[in-house]
């Protein structure tokens, strides 16, 4: 499920210093936000190619990661360019309702396009960062940013525990599905409720077992992070 995490550990730049990578990410963001369209565009293409090369992810899988966010991007841009006007000449593809016209705003279309390209290049930059930086390096980055220890410790533990929960989540989900628990919308809601409740029980079960392990490892209230 968390395939990005796997690539982050196995890519060719995994060993690079996290500070360097954070610096490059910042640079990429600046490139994405600067005004020159051609520069955004060439950065987008270069970084995408680099990402695929260093992670050796298939292009198909790489494109798949965009599926989830494309509708949102599309809707947002639609929200930017769609408008109402009294004058037909302001609009592209205008249709009228009484005296007002609906359609795509001529002045906003370039803005929408610019935002689209900008968002795309920024996303590609962040994907590069996510795909090339193991999460343990992110933790050490947070440490260097001098964020509070409690926050970093909880982040680190959460990262470890997520994998435990995802595994049981998948197992429960499969078992429910194979017993027809997701066949209708009503059943889906009901089964999801049971799934969430069972996961919540695991919070308690895991906690009890971890308490014992912490005692055995002489835990004194602090998870040291180097």
């Amino acid at each position: 499920m968390l395939s990005i995490d796997k690539y982050a550990y196995s890519n060719r730049w995994a060993e690079w210093s996290p500070l360097t990578k954070a610096g490059i990410w910042l640079g990429l963001m600046i490139l994405a936000f600067q005004p020159l369209l051609w520069l955004k565009f060439s950065m987008l293409v270069c970084v995408a190619i680099i990402t695929v090369r260093i992670t050796q992810v298939s292009w198909r899988q790489y494109v798949k990661w965009f599926y989830a966010i494309l509708p949102f991007l599309f809707l947002s841009i639609l929200g930017i360019v769609f408008t109402v006007s009294q004058q037909k000449q302001d609009l592209l593809i205008a249709c009228h309702l009484g005296q007002t016209y609906f359609g795509l705003s001529k002045t906003m279309l370039p803005v929408g396009a610019k935002i689209g390209i900008q968002a795309f290049s920024a996303i590609i930059g962040t994907y590069w960062f996510a795909l090339s930086t193991p999460f343990t390096q992110i933790i050490s980055l947070l440490h260097r940013l001098h964020l509070p220890d409690n926050l970093i410790e909880i982040t680190m533990l959460m990262y470890r525990f997520i994998f435990i929960f995802i595994e049981s989540c998948e197992q429960i989900y499969h078992a429910q599905k194979l017993r027809f628990g997701y066949d209708t919308i009503g059943l889906t809601l009901h089964s999801s409720g049971i799934l969430a409740q069972m996961l919540f029980q695991q919070v308690i079960v895991n906690y009890r077992k971890m308490e014992l392990a912490l005692a055995a490892k002489l835990y004194d209230g602090e998870f040291r992070i180097s």
């Binding site: 395939s3 194979l178 027809f180 066949d183 049971i194």
Partner: protein
Amino acid sequence: MLELKNLSFGYEPQHLILKNISLQLGNNHQHVIGLIGPNGSGKSTLFLNLVGVLRPTSGQIIVDGQPVKYHKHNLQALRQKIGIVFQDSDQQLFYSIVQDDVAFALNNLKYDTTEIQRRVQEVLEELDIWPLRKSPIQYLSGGQKKRVAIAGILVLQSEWLLLDEPTAGLDPDGRKRMAQLISHLVARGQKIILSSHDMDFMYDVCDYFYLLNAGQIIAEGTKKTVFTNQQLLENNKLEQPWLVKLHQKLGLPLYNNAQELFDQHDSM
């Protein structure tokens, strides 16, 4: 009959977990089919492909001559034909009371109440857990939970039953009772596919074997063919059951199970 034709599967196409697997399950002489292989060899992935949770990257699964289709309706039919019980009972028991949980699948299929009650009673009696029907699941032992999980699938009366590591976490008594349960189910016509790391258990219980390693079927055959090949087992990080070791190293006859060996000796 279940048939896999050149089945390959991988979450990403360049990393296949199952590689070009072809096999036929359910020929006449096969009642309990054993799937053996070291950790990470792809046994569970193969099971998930068989019940349609995972969709093969290439190749086909053919059930009774019909290729499996991945539409909702076809999958429903497939899952009534092939039931699966996973290793961890705790992740497949959804209600707090035994009989509610066993009825889950039938309720979802909208069977009528009397039929559900009838089937639940039948299965609970068959699995010897009728007295537990109103017990809270959290207080059951590992072996009892396992039985409830199996009951939850058996109510579907599916032709095939897949059991993933049925003896994991059981004590010697639970293990013995599991072997008895499997023979009982087979005797009344249930077809079973098993996977387990417990070679002695597998040797006792199964009558046909597939050896899986690194996503490929390395060998198949009766218990005698597969388990007498020591080199094969060692290469695949498996062990010989002790009955086979006795046969090969001490020159005893090859018995089908421990009972046979000791009966033989008692009668002498």
